[in-house]
């Protein structure tokens, strides 16, 4: 009762392996163009990979050996029991919202009246019951996306694929839809592509990070996001990530050339590649080097001040710091000059950069 996938698409430079356990929800995170939609498209049967193999609950979805030899299996999309909510809503323009949602059940042979009841229930779940009679052309962007979520769920697939389901939703329904997803994904196998770390935390049992068509990290949300191994994951988690080589009790960074004192007890032996992660809120920015021995400081040029409501983000090439609007006012004139960014040792997390396997899929 699992899903496993191997996949190579030469043209898009994508080469991935993915397992999903029964009932597991996997979140796929990665930059634009990393290959996330390609991954989902292949599973759904809309993109034909150059080679690869996928199996869902013992059924082979496709089996395309790399060498032309061997039997090629390609199961058409509608026989895969896989439902895809694509990045664009793509509601059928000639059907009402209700009939769009009822489409999946009806295709499965459910009689019209029952299918419409099911559809109405799912519309209610996404808070769109009032839109049932509308045509897609008469819906706002977010409304359409909600109907599309309902449509994907209503087809009750063995594996549910969601490509950024919440991106177009406003803050007033996104939490409700997210809670609904959490409920329906609870015992369902699902792969969800998202750019929102909150989705990963609330919905996913496991997070897979994809960059440039390759899996670069995976594990539980906490593992992957608290001790990020890529700038991308660190950005998602809202952490500063500094990678370098351990030299004694310092972390030596190549670019920009910097040395940061670390705790003697930190992980990694001399010469090992190690990483340091720290929240911007913990970092302070001062004109003079702080004397505090419990902090380690680096001198870096202040590039930019970005107001973010409660606080202001001060950026250097290496580190970002969240400072109070009052402090930021004092720094305003200093943009472009070198300041001291300091990290409390207690807030800094230091860990080996290595590829050691994280918790395997359950």
């Amino acid at each position: 009762m699992t899903f496993s996938l191997d996949l190579h698409v030469a043209e898009r430079d994508v080469s991935l392996h993915l397992d999903v356990a029964a009932g597991e929800t996997v979140a796929i995170l990665g930059p634009n163009g990393a290959g996330k939609s390609t991954l989902l498209g292949t599973i759904a049967g809309l993109v034909t990979p150059d080679s690869g193999r996928a199996e869902l609950n013992g059924t082979v979805l496709f089996d395309l050996p790399a060498a032309g030899s061997g039997r090629r299996i390609w199961r058409p999309p509608h026989q895969r029991g896989v439902s895809l909510l694509a990045q664009e809503a793509l509601l059928f323009p000639h059907l009402s919202a209700l009939d769009n949602v009822a489409f999946g059940p009806r295709s499965a042979g459910v009689p019209a009246t029952r299918a419409r009841q099911t559809a109405t229930r799912w519309l209610r779940e996404v808070d769109a019951e009032a839109l049932a009679a509308r045509r897609p052309a008469e819906l706002s962007g977010g409304q359409a996306q909600r109907i599309a979520v309902a449509r994907a769920l209503a087809s009750d697939p063995g594996l549910l694929l969601l490509d950024e389901p919440l991106a177009a939703l406003d803050i007033s329904v996104a939490p409700a839809v997210r809670r609904m997803l959490r409920r329906v994904l609870f015992d369902r196998s699902a792969v969800i592509v998202t750019h929102d770390v909150l989705d990963a935390y609330t919905l996913a049992d496991r997070v897979v990070i994809i960059e440039d068509g390759r899996v670069v990290d995976q594990g539980t949300p906490a593992e992957v996001l608290d001790r990020p191994r890529s700038a991308f994951a660190a950005g998602l988690a809202g952490l500063n990530l500094i990678t370098g080589i351990r030299r004694g009790d310092t972390l030596v960074v190549a670019d920009p050339a910097t040395t940061i004192t670390i705790d003697a007890g930190s992980a990694g032996a001399d010469g090992d590649p190690i990483s340091l992660a720290v929240r911007p809120a913990a970092v302070t920015v001062t004109f003079d080097e702080p004397a505090d021995p419990a902090r380690t400081s680096v001198r870096a040029e202040l590039i930019d001040l970005e107001p973010r409501g409660d606080f202001v983000r001060a950026r250097s090439a290496l580190l970002a710091a969240d400072v109070s609007p009052k402090d930021a006012a004092g720094l305003d004139a200093a943009v472009g000059s070198a300041l001291w960014f300091s990290i409390p040792s207690a807030a800094a997390m230091v860990y080996p950069t290595g590829r050691s396997e994280r918790s395997a899929p359950s």
Partner: protein, 264 residues
């Protein structure tokens, strides 16, 4: 979209070019004798036969043409391009030659003649022959215009339907066909019009017997020999019938509610 002014001008010239001959024809109609001319037994029989056969031919065009357009637009196979050109041929074949080719095929001494004779089916000189001739010349219209529409629509919605578990047939019935319904209708209208106006192939292949094979265009042609007034009057009838049927089809096909709301 705002259409540029000069486009209107060009369209006006084009429309005038098509409409002026019709006006000229209407001006030549002998209105005093119009009703007697068109209500002769022969004329009425020809009109009814034309309507019956053209509708039957249109039906056949839809039944076979829609699958053909689907295959041409949605699949890729060796020889597809040649096939597409070949399907066009009845268009380019002068109808009389088309009629000869049909004779060579379905005639008593034709390719399939023996087969049909054994089955006890007589095609030549029957109304069936008229429908066959009309279908033969009208089919490419539906296929070509529908294939274009299918390509334009693309297959994204079909892909979504498939991932929702719809079988190819369900996708066809509930997504593809509704999406291209306007194109199917306008293709059917084109086919119907072509079938209604069909003359050469019918004459050559089916013959011309009042009530059985003599359609309105054949009647017009014949009348022209002796009585140009009747010919013009009947032509006008043909035109009016066509306009009515075409308008009806367009009314049905117009997804008016949807279009009215769409952004301009």
């Amino acid at each position: 979209m705002t259409v540029p002014r000069w486009v209107f001008a060009m369209a006006g010239i084009g429309a005038a070019f098509v409409l002026l001959p019709l006006v000229a024809m209407v001006l030549r109609v002998n209105w005093a004798e119009f009703v007697p001319l068109i209500s002769s037994e022969a004329s009425v029989a020809a009109l009814l036969l034309s309507l019956r056969t053209s509708l039957a031919a249109t039906l056949l065009c839809v039944i076979f043409g829609v699958p053909m357009a689907l295959v041409l637009a949605r699949t890729d196979f060796w020889g597809q391009k040649v096939l597409r050109s070949l399907v066009l041929l009845p268009l380019v074949l002068p109808p009389v030659v088309g009629g000869i080719a049909l004779l060579y095929t379905f005639g008593r001494r034709g390719l399939l003649g023996q087969t049909f004779e054994l089955l006890g089916i007589e095609i030549a000189f029957s109304t069936t022959a008229v429908v066959i001739a009309q279908t033969f010349v009208a089919l490419p219209f539906l296929v070509l215009s529908l294939e274009g529409a299918l390509r334009t629509v693309g297959s994204r919605y079909e892909a979504v339907g498939a991932t929702l578990g719809a079988s190819p047939t369900t996708v066809l019935r509930r997504i593809t066909l509704p999406l291209v319904l306007p194109a199917v209708l306008s293709g059917a209208v084109l086919s119907f019009a072509r079938a209604l106006g069909e003359f050469g192939a019918t004459l050559t292949f089916a013959g011309s017997l009042q009530g059985t094979t003599r359609t309105l265009p054949l009647e017009i042609y014949l009348q022209r020999e002796t009585d140009p007034d009747t010919a013009v009057a009947l032509s006008l009838v043909l035109v009016v019938v066509a306009v009515i049927i075409v308008s009806l089809a367009h009314r049905t096909g117009e997804p008016s509610r949807r279009r009215a709301r769409a952004l301009s």
